[in-house]
Symmetry: C2
């Protein structure tokens, strides 16, 4: 049970091996007659080209390396839409996806490029100061970052427009007559690990609130889990008085615990208080109650990343690097008090 080769196809079709190759690649004109004979033979033998041989001869693997942030640090749920979209974008261009976990660090990157395992790399979960960036920038293959480090070292980046997300949340709460805002920050672990979208978001939120002249405070850090959320909510509600209070919760997994804590204190989201979360629409629809949200658009971000990656691959001259920020969208659901 050994696989057929292009030689077998050539013999079966009565043509040369190169003709088989050219029929498959379309890199040279083939007469209708022979093309059909070859295709018939391919069909007949259920021939599939050997990937290793092809990579060796053509110097291109048709594989995209994907470095994902697994391990305890990962936002377990939010990751899948990224992976899924990247996988399907790759398939749409006839490429495979090779999975590498981030715990391999720079070594994984070196291996991917050094062994010619892939033609390009998608690097997720970028830190502000990320050891892997200089390594990534020195590889023989193009690398695209999902996330924006302090110094991209010439590498193209794609990410959600976090400042815009923050502004949208604040603008919305301002427009619906809120006169006090609380921003629920991220966990200390997140902060210290150096995800700088945290700062980008909070800075923009505070600036926007100032611009509207709305008093605000930021409650941070907020650890992961129920207890931390309750403490944060208590701090948010401290000294609460008349008027409309708006909460902005940018960390996806903190949203539900915050909603729970509010309900437990008899403060009903959507009636007594407004809550806007930053998360995917899918996640927002599932919270109880469904949280009004700024969408984090993992699919858009991934799609854009793959687009620019394939552009780099097509025009293999080094295009000038870009930072693409994907705009979020606001969807009002059940947790925001409507206009008076």
């Amino acid at each position: 049970m050994v696989a057929f080769t292009s030689k077998d196809v050539a013999r079966a079709a009565g043509v040369s091996q190169s003709t088989v190759s050219y029929v498959m690649s379309g890199k040279r004109p083939i007469s209708q007659r022979t093309r059909l004979r070859v295709l018939a033979a391919i069909e007949e033998l259920t021939y599939e080209p050997n990937a290793g041989a092809r990579a060796l001869a053509s110097q291109r693997t048709s594989v995209i390396g994907l470095v994902v942030p697994f391990g305890p640090a990962a936002d377990t749920a939010g990751l899948l839409p990224f992976i899924e979209t990247i996988a399907s974008s790759a398939r749409a261009r006839d490429h495979e996806v090779l999975l590498v976990t981030a715990d391999e660090g720079s070594a994984g990157l070196r291996r991917l490029a050094g062994r010619s395992l892939c033609d390009a790399i998608v690097l997720m979960d970028i830190l502000a100061h990320d050891d892997r960036i200089p390594v990534a920038a020195s590889l023989r293959v193009p690398v695209i970052l999902i996330g924006v480090p302090d110094d991209p070292a010439g590498l193209p980046c794609v990410d959600l427009d976090f400042p815009m997300a923050a502004r949208m949340a604040v603008d919305e709460l301002a427009a619906t007559g809120h006169d006090r805002l609380v921003f629920i920050g991220y966990s200390a672990g997140f902060m210290s690990r150096g995800f700088n979208f945290v700062r980008r978001f909070l800075d923009a939120a505070e600036a926007a609130a100032d611009r509207h002249g709305i008093p605000h405070k930021t409650v941070a850090p907020v650890e992961w889990g129920r207890a931390a959320a309750e403490k944060a909510v208590d701090r948010a509600l401290a000294g609460r008085r008349k008027g409309r209070l708006g909460l902005v919760v940018p960390h996806s997994t903190t949203i539900q615990p915050v909603l729970n804590a509010l309900s437990a204190r008899g403060v009903v989201p959507g009636r007594d208080i407004s809550v806007i979360g930053l998360c995917t629409d899918a996640t927002a629809a599932e919270t109880e109650p469904p949280v009004s949200n700024i969408s984090s658009e993992p699919r858009d971000v991934s799609r854009r990343a793959m687009q620019t990656l394939f552009q780099l691959l097509d025009s293999d001259g080094p295009t000038r690097p870009t930072i693409e920020l994907v705009p979020p969208r606001y969807t009002r659901r059940r947790t925001t008090i409507p206009q008076p």
Copy 2:
């Protein structure tokens, strides 16, 4: 910026190319002296072997193909521990992981094997009658199933021991004096898609309850989402009277909505009613309140799958196929009423 080859290493070390190869593979004795010279040259040039060339010459790719159930059907959160464990098991044996999404169906399998993209395949999310099984069984590479189809067609399977999980839940509730049980079934979509662990679980649960002589009913199908959970809870509570009622919720994503619905009806889990869920320990710890659970052990299941896969790969004679069922564990948390 082109990569060095083993030829370069050979020249630098003053040996032949084959010696370099043998130093790396250890497939023949090498004198200490030349070994060190070669290793130094490798280090010096940061040489890495070309994967395509190696695959071509050795007929082994050192890649494991992983077919994952993405798309709307996927249990978005529960998937990651599988992928993560499979990835790290692969790395531990110096193998890469190639990701293929299940929406490609049998075509993905054919491509994986036909193009010699991998040495072995892990197929997840197996249906009772799965079109891919006969295809998988006919491939040139070993395939292992995570899940148990009605007819494995000679392929080895690994899965959680769902009947045992059901028995453990029922035994626990029986031991703590419950005198009525309700099993919350799965969604119609799940059922019709043919996941037979559904039936395996429910059948075993009902049998166990009968064995204990405890009256029970099964509420099914239960669709995904809040509304369906509430309806199910209402049916579960219907005609409720004195005594201890125990709920068993085998669908991971249904657990939290069920807990919410109970609380909303003033029925406190762990005081007025017992709830046992089937989910990972991580998920259980995060529910509100933390649900007593039978763990679904995705890491154990994946690890076992990779173990047997590598065994197949090592002793490439076809070992006799096995069905390995991984035992779950019970952890009491906050949702079960303790012994009187």
